[in-house]
């Protein structure tokens, strides 16, 4: 038996290799330093030399549940469906509502709307008619379709929508009618002045009746699908990629430059950026926050940061202690230093939030709470006083659980929140327990109301304050904290009264936010920004639309 003579310890070799590879990794990231590019493209497609191969690959963060407009409810699905189906209206690069399938529309009273359709075809040659929209909207609210967004037409106040959705009336009773092939009439129960703006939503898009009746659930297969938008589905491999190809029947096809769009479902921001750097992704969906600074330094010109119509907040459970007491709710809101959260913990350009509705929302007069101008000491003094009035002190501390769904970011913010509050009010007076639950479990807990504070966020479905404020109306399905204020409800209902003009509406929204500040059902933290990487040869990718409603037909690839 030979004697044991270790030449090189089996521990040291792997360690050296690990160090070597990590050093190699660090050296890769350093390139020239550039600033962040915030401007939208000045080049027009016409002026720049275009590449031979007009193909683009974009990351969409998740595998879509479906591309049937009536079966979906989330953003990744909407992004894909938008390239395939065009509704009555569309949006331009700035996010403004522009004609889509409808050339023009009018309404005398904001209750009865008449849309005149343009000459447009489906990809199988059939003309797009008003009947298509009648069929589609009926299918949306039909209980047999089981559409998750059936209630959108209820929110839009379309007459008969609620009864049909509940199965109490036939879909034919829905307030939508084809006056002739090219004229569509929609009747609302109340005047909704911004009704056309609401029609950018996925659920209101038309679907081809003949194809659905022929193929049933398989109508979205690449072999069967028929579309009216700039692109059609060429290939769909679940968890791999979705490939869209140009649809020559699209009415504005002459202005479409990109021929092929490949959409990837990469959910990890780190992998997203890695494949972007490897040259396989042309437009990333996001950037990992911890890499933001280093990416800004090395790829600043390709980094786009733009405000988004979303707010991050902590939702109070207003029907059980301790947060059924408005003084406690306001105490925490005053004590929290939002600037630290927005600039230090997040640090990508997020704005601290003092109201629910993002300040850039169309038709909003922003509300500034009195205490926003106070000094930090003043706010903390007031917060302490409120806590004391509510009966909390060192001998009877405020104890609560903070619920958030599993994510590094939410955890960071929760930990920061906890320590900021304790620093401001005193660790002896406040005890926070952080509870982290997996997404579906978190949703279930929130639904049953078994929480004190829950991390939450809301993005607008359309660019108007009601898409945010409606969530706090009494009995709104998204009002998990069960906040109920007759005055708040009255103010919102007032915005839809006959004769109220835009200025008055904006004023009412401001008063509504003031009411929310007095009652503090949510602790608003910050308004979102969208951060993505875009290759320099991609021209025309929009970054001025706060709803982030991008169209590949507006984009082109420059020679590179």
């Amino acid at each position: 038996m030979r004697k044991l003579k270790p030449k090189l310890s089996t521990v040291r070799l792997p360690l050296m290799l690990a160090l070597a590879t990590s050093v190699a990794g660090l050296m890769v990231g350093c390139n020239d330093k550039e600033g962040v590019n915030n401007s939208s493209d000045a080049d027009s497609k016409a002026e720049t030399a275009l590449a031979e191969d007009q193909s683009i690959t974009i990351n969409n963060t998740a595998e879509p549940e479906s591309i049937d407009p009536h079966k979906v409810s989330a953003v990744p699905e909407g992004n894909i469906i938008r390239q395939l189906f065009i509704g009555l209206v569309d949006t331009d690069r700035e996010g403004k509502t522009v004609p889509g399938m409808a050339e023009s529309w009018e309404s005398k009273d904001n209750k009865v709307w008449t849309f005149k359709l343009r000459d447009a075809k489906w990809s199988n040659g059939d003309p797009v008619t008003a009947e298509d929209f009648v069929y589609s909207w009926r299918r949306l609210v039909d209980p047999n379709t089981a559409s998750p967004y059936a209630s959108y037409l209820v929110d839009a106040k379309v007459s008969g929508a609620e009864a049909v959705m509940a199965g109490e009336a036939n879909p034919e009773t829905l307030g939508i009618k084809a006056l002739d092939n090219k004229t569509l009439q929609i009747t609302l129960t109340e005047p909704v002045p911004y009704f056309p703006d609401m029609l950018i939503h996925t659920s209101t898009k038309p679907v081809p009746q003949k194809v659905i009746e022929q193929f049933g659930d398989k109508w979205t297969d690449a072999a069967n699908i028929v579309v009216n938008g700039p692109y059609t589905l060429s290939e769909w491999r679940v968890n791999d990629k979705i490939v869209l190809k140009r649809n020559p029947s699209y009415f504005d096809n002459a202005h479409t430059t990109i021929d092929t769009v490949t959409i990837l479902p990469i959910s990890s921001p780190t992998t997203d950026v890695a494949r972007y750097q490897a040259g396989e992704v042309d437009v990333s969906a996001e950037v990992p926050p911890e890499q933001f600074e280093s990416i800004k330094a090395s790829m600043g010109k390709e980094l786009r940061v733009a405000p988004r119509l979303c707010t991050y907040y902590y939702k109070y459970n207003t029907v059980r202690p301790p947060f059924n007491d408005v003084r406690v709710r306001r105490a925490l809101a005053l004590a929290l230093d939002r600037d630290v959260i927005a600039t230090k913990v997040m640090g990508q350009g997020q704005q601290p939030a003092y109201q629910l509705t993002p300040p850039s929302t169309n038709g909003m007069t922003n509300f500034t709470p009195e205490w926003q101008a106070w000094s930090k000491e003043q706010r903390i003094k007031e917060a302490n006083s409120l806590l004391q009035q509510a009966g909390y002190s060192a001998s009877h501390p405020l104890k609560f659980q903070l619920l958030y769904n599993t994510s590094d970011n939410h955890k960071k913010i929760a930990v920061a929140f906890s320590s900021l509050i304790k620093e401001a009010l005193g660790a002896d007076k406040v005890q926070v327990e952080l509870v982290n639950k997996e997404w579906k479990t978190y949703l279930d807990t929130r639904r049953t109301g078994d929480y004190d504070i829950a991390r939450s966020s809301w993005c607008g479905d359309y660019n108007e304050p009601s898409s945010f404020l409606n969530t706090l109306k009494t009995d709104n399905t998204n009002n998990h904290g069960k906040y109920s204020s007759p005055e708040f409800d009255r103010l919102l209902n007032q915005t839809l009264v006959e004769g109220v003009d835009a200025k008055q509406r904006a004023n009412l929204y401001q008063q509504a936010e003031a009411q929310l500040d007095a009652d503090m059902p949510n602790l608003n933290m910050y308004h979102y920004v969208g951060v993505r990487l875009v290759k320099p040869y991609v021209i025309g990718f929009p970054d001025n639309d706060p709803l982030d409603v991008w169209h590949m037909k507006d984009v082109a690839i420059a020679k590179h």
């Binding site: 209980p143 998750p148 959705m165 679940v238 968890n239 890695a274 949703l443 998204n478």
Partner: protein
């Protein structure tokens, strides 16, 4: 032999039955619904959705209906991917995982056997240590470090290989994921092979062969390899199943549309149909490969009789 196969089939039935039943009820007991999302739906809408998928039926009825369905080979609709049935999704994803798994498996076995044999024959020399250290790196570094590291080196820096994507199984897209997947199993196979080989090489009949003057190559390949491989083979059965089904990290990082992603996303999304069908699939595969392993045993070692 036939008796063995028949017995295994008979044992499989109650095993699968218990597996399906336990999985079914555990999935339903987990909090959360397949249809919950950030935006809560009105009760009317929720009722419509649940009626469509028969989630309103009493639990025992749903269970019985599900059993009837799978006996026909129909795994039902996917609760998450509404345009597809589970059968369609599996038929897209299974070939990917099998191809990936097969290549990784072959690579792991070949490398593992070679490393193990070389290390055993040169026991305690510097060759032994280098080979085993390299093999151990493969198992010690977790796959979620290995994979991004490989991408960083070969895709981003050197730009030799793509950073991800399936690309219909193109060779360049396979190299990195197969390597990352194989490395973890290479070490285990190498270690088992090394240990087993050392034991065999020290046994009586090998010493007899050496003293008779037979060349080492003949001894190793003709006399030592077969018995030394027995422990490796019993490891290979579950290892193969593990490679095919457990490659979730690799599939996620490289964006490969295999069943690993379907499995984890299915659990996270509460896609009952998907998760149950994959559980059944894994159960069937495990039973099948354990049976194959037992048969191989009998083939290799004439001492083993059933």
């Amino acid at each position: 032999m036939l008796k063995l196969i028949f017995r295994r089939l008979l044992e499989a039935i109650p095993t699968m039955f218990i597996l399906i039943t336990v999985s079914f009820f555990m999935m339903r007991l987990a909090p959360g619904s397949p249809f919950s999302g950030e935006r809560s739906f009105s009760p009317a809408v929720m009722a419509n959705i649940e009626a469509k998928y028969h989630l309103n039926d009493p639990m025992w009825l749903q269970y019985v209906n599900y059993l009837k369905q799978i006996l026909m080979g129909d795994f039902g609709p996917s609760f998450k991917y509404k345009d597809y049935t589970v059968n369609e999704l599996l038929s897209q994803a299974l070939p990917v995982s099998i191809e990936l798994g097969l290549y990784a498996f072959i690579l792991a076995v070949v490398l593992g056997l070679i490393f193990g044999i070389v290390a055993a024959l040169k026991q305690n020399s510097w060759i032994d240590y280098i080979v085993m250290a390299f093999a151990n790196i493969g198992v010690v570094i977790p796959s979620f470090v290995k994979a991004p590291l490989l991408v960083l080196i070969f895709a981003i820096t050197l730009k030799w290989l793509p950073g991800g994507g399936w690309n219909d199984g193109a060779v360049q897209n396979l190299i990195l994921p197969v390597t990352a997947l194989a490395l973890a199993y290479t070490a285990s196979i190498a270690r088992i092979m090394r240990g087993s080989m050392i034991e065999v090489m020290n046994s009586q009949y090998i010493r007899t062969a050496r003293s008779k003057g037979l060349p080492m190559q003949r001894i190793v390949l003709k006399h030592a390899l077969r018995p030394a491989m027995l422990p490796v083979i019993s490891y290979l059965g579950p290892a193969f199943v593990g490679i095919i089904t457990g490659s979730i990290v690799i599939e996620t990082i490289f964006g490969l549309p295999g069943i690993g992603q379907l499995f984890v996303n299915g659990a996270l999304n509460r896609d009952y149909g998907m998760v149950l069908s994959l559980t059944i699939l894994v159960g069937v595969l495990t039973i099948a490969f354990n049976a194959i392993v037992d048969i191989l045993y009998a083939v290799i070692d004439p001492q083993i009789k059933y």
